[in-house]
């Protein structure tokens, strides 16, 4: 997998293993009385290890695009390839399986299971993949530690702050080591300080090799990415490449050469930083 194509060019190869998601001339038409072209011929390639923001006014097709990339929906026309698999050709079960293993979701409203603890929430996707309980819990504990919530694993979502909930959601999104993490307005319900913390965490995981796709309508959130895809009326208006972005460009370059989300590696490289996250969280 680490073929060295995790570049910042944004035009990665269309079929190669270096591409997490490829959309080819995708159309999505809803029949609401009269046909509504939510997406009207979108072609986009998201390389592995990249950090992409999708912006656009409401009604521009952001949500539809997100649903397609997240394997929640299938296009009316065109192809969507996630992790090398053509989503349109998959059965519903296979699509669910692909979504469960290769896509991690982070939602604006966190969407944690209210009666499961933080640890159980993080472990939930693996539950559906038939991973054993002990292995699951170990993995979830590891990820909770990485997002700085090692001491909150038995708390219910209602006992956590918004920022903490979003960290749990991020840990859950990463638990199956997915091809990409899809975040829908991840900081929409957070105050400015907490937003910065969560976005720092995004950058951190991106630096460790995770492919990030963030859907947002806020410029400063989008600016944390490597490039911004602007949508308008179901089409890509323009793609804006951002230079020298993200925190600590140096480490970003370093991990960009090996675009994997190996938890062991990335944890070792970040021990010092976790403590800082911890203290920031409590404030």
């Amino acid at each position: 997998m680490p073929t060295g194509t995790g570049t910042d060019t944004g035009t990665g190869t269309e079929t190669g293993e270096g591409t997490a998601v490829t959309l080819e001339n995708v159309r999505k038409i809803y029949q609401l009385g009269e046909p509504v072209h939510a997406l009207d011929g979108v072609s986009l390639s998201i390389p592995r290890g990249s950090y992409t923001a999708i912006m656009g006014p409401s009604g521009s097709g952001k949500s539809t695009l997100m649903n397609l990339v997240g394997c929640l929906d299938t296009p009316t026309e065109g192809t969507v390839i996630v992790d090398g698999k053509d989503v349109t050709a998959l059965s519903e079960r296979e699509r669910t399986r692909l979504r469960g293993t290769q896509v991690g979701f982070v939602f604006q409203t966190f969407n944690l299971m209210p009666r499961l603890t933080a640890l159980e929430n993080v472990a939930l996707p693996q539950t559906f993949q038939g991973v054993g309980r002990d292995e699951r819990r170990e993995r979830a504990r590891d990820l909770l530690a990485r997002v700085g919530l090692a001491d909150r694993e038995d708390h219910l979502p209602s006992e956590l702050s918004g920022g903490q909930r979003q960290r749990v959601a991020l840990a859950r999104a990463l638990v199956n080591d997915p091809a990409l993490v899809l975040a829908d307005e991840p900081s929409g319900n957070l105050d400015t300080d907490t937003e910065a913390d969560v976005l720092d965490l995004f950058a951190e995981f991106h630096d460790a090799g995770t492919t990030m796709v963030v859907v947002t309508h806020e410029r400063h959130v989008a600016e944390r990415a490597e490039r911004i895809v602007h949508l308008l009326d179901g089409r890509i208006e323009r793609i804006e490449e951002l230079e020298g972005v993200g925190v600590e460009a140096g480490s970003g370059t370093a991990s960009g050469s090996g675009p994997t989300t190996d938890p062991e590696r990335s944890r070792e490289s970040r021990d010092g930083r976790e403590n800082r996250e911890d203290s920031a969280d409590r404030s």
């Binding site: 649903n67 997240g70 929640l72 929906d73 519903e92 079960r93 669910t96 399986r97 979504r99 469960g100 293993t101 979701f105 939602f107 969407n111 944690l112 299971m113 209210p114 009666r115 499961l116 939930l124 996707p125 539950t127 559906f128 993949q129 038939g130 309980r133 859950r172 199956n176």
Partner: protein
């Protein structure tokens, strides 16, 4: 996904709604409890009745003549047709061990010389072996032709000075006659000795048909208390007829009982017998064992029990509708959770399994609580009516099976609805 995980997550949501889950299962609890309680009581009642038949009684055939169309228990519609000579002939039959008449004598009072106690019935005339040796607490059986009696503890206790063996009692009959008897035996139980008497406890005095029934049958107002050498001929014309007879087979084995029944019936229906002169289409002889007689009672009990269980089953159906209703509410309420689960990779069957498990858990909890409650109710009921307690264990297993069934039946549709929820809509759901 492994079923244990379904159980774990389903349990969380049941725990999360304790009151609602409790109220939901209540319907099932009540339904199952009612079924179990009534079945326990029914089984106990049955055991109580069967237990009253002593093994020695099993070889006795109770016979009477009545219209074959008559419905009812022993002696219903019985007519007095059996003569003394019929009984003697039947007793001599090869397959018959003993045969004697059975009659209750209308009495007024009993006195032990000092104290007089009113007694309207409970003076029973029969053959000596009617009071089986095994049911004698002390003393012996009375002898035919002697002025002797066996009494039961209830009869003995009704006097201030308890009656004991050798005491003499004076019986005052309805017609005004009196007779003196010597107590030669006391039974060990105050319950009836045969289905003719009924099985309830009451004071009873057992006397030989000869001389007492013969005297009684001779007619009221005869008042011949001095007839101490009564010989069973009553007023001398041999016309003493018995309403009922008891025929003892050689043993309690079914073939011996059947042989005795066939032999006795054959003779009594033949022209040789005195009884046959009365027999026609409207009067036929019936011989039944205690077990067979009780079978009728049991059939009625079974019918009644099925009826009540049927009503209880209706409350089970109501209970399952309750579960279905709550599950539907729960599916709607948790639409968002379903969306989350599907987004993170839950297959349709996982969602189906989760909700079905939840319904089944509710059903099984209801069944277990209902079974416990039903057994307690059955225990209290059996204790209250003084019955031997018999737990119908097969019904306990059945109750749990019904609980699972109720869960599946009521959970299937809601779970199916949950499973086909569209994750995109579900995630947007508020």
């Amino acid at each position: 996904m492994n079923p244990l995980e379904y159980l774990r997550i389903a349990w969380r949501s049941i725990e999360g709604h304790k009151l609602r889950s409790g109220l939901t299962t209540l319907g099932v609890v009540i339904g199952i409890a009612a079924v179990i309680a009534f079945v326990t009581l029914g089984a106990s009642l049955q055991a109580g009745i069967i237990g009253d038949i002593s093994p020695d009684d099993q070889r006795n055939l109770y016979g009477w003549a009545a219209d074959p169309d008559t419905e009812g228990g022993p002696l219903a519609g019985a007519q007095p047709i059996f003569s003394e000579s019929d009984l003697e002939t039947v007793e001599d039959l090869e397959d018959v061990d003993a045969a004697y008449g059975y009659a209750t004598i209308q009495s007024q009072a009993v006195s032990n010389g000092e104290e007089r106690v009113a007694q309207g019935d409970g003076v029973i005339a029969a053959g000596p072996s009617y009071v089986r040796n095994s049911s004698l607490e002390e003393g012996r059986q009375f002898e035919m032709g002697e002025r002797e009696a066996v009494i039961n503890p209830a009869a003995a206790d009704q006097f201030e000075d308890n009656v004991s063996l050798g005491d003499e009692l004076e019986l005052a009959f309805l017609g005004g006659q009196t007779a003196t008897v010597e107590v030669v035996g006391i039974t060990d139980t105050s319950e009836g000795l045969s289905p003719f008497e009924g099985f309830e406890s009451s004071p009873r005095i057992y006397v030989p048909t000869d001389p007492y029934y013969a005297e009684q049958a001779a007619g009221f107002g005869f008042g011949d208390e001095g007839d101490s050498e009564g010989d069973g001929d009553g007023n001398g014309d041999g016309e003493t007829r018995f309403l009922a007879i008891v025929v003892e087979a050689e043993s309690a084995a079914q073939e011996d009982v059947d042989a005795a029944r066939d032999a006795a019936t054959a003779y009594l229906e033949s022209d040789d017998s005195d009884a046959s002169e009365f027999l026609d289409d409207d009067l036929a002889i019936t011989f039944q064992t205690s077990t067979e007689l009780l079978q009728q009672l049991q059939d009625v009990l079974d019918l009644l029990q099925n009826f009540i269980v049927g009503i209880a089953a209706i409350s089970l159906i109501v209970g399952s509708i309750g579960i279905a209703n709550i599950m539907l509410v729960s599916v709607t309420e948790r639409t968002r959770e379903i969306g989350i689960m599907k987004a993170v990779g839950a297959q349709n069957r996982d969602v189906l399994g989760l909700f079905l498990t939840e319904a089944i858990v509710l059903g099984v909890i209801g069944a277990i609580l209902g079974t416990a409650l039903g057994l307690v109710a059955g225990y209290v009921g059996a204790w209250y009516i003084d019955l031997p307690l018999v737990y119908p264990y097969e019904y306990v297993a059945l109750a749990v099976a019904v609980g699972i069934l109720v869960g599946v039946a009521s959970g299937l549709y809601p779970a199916w609805r949950a499973a086909r929820t569209d994750p995109i809509d579900a995630l947007r759901h508020e």
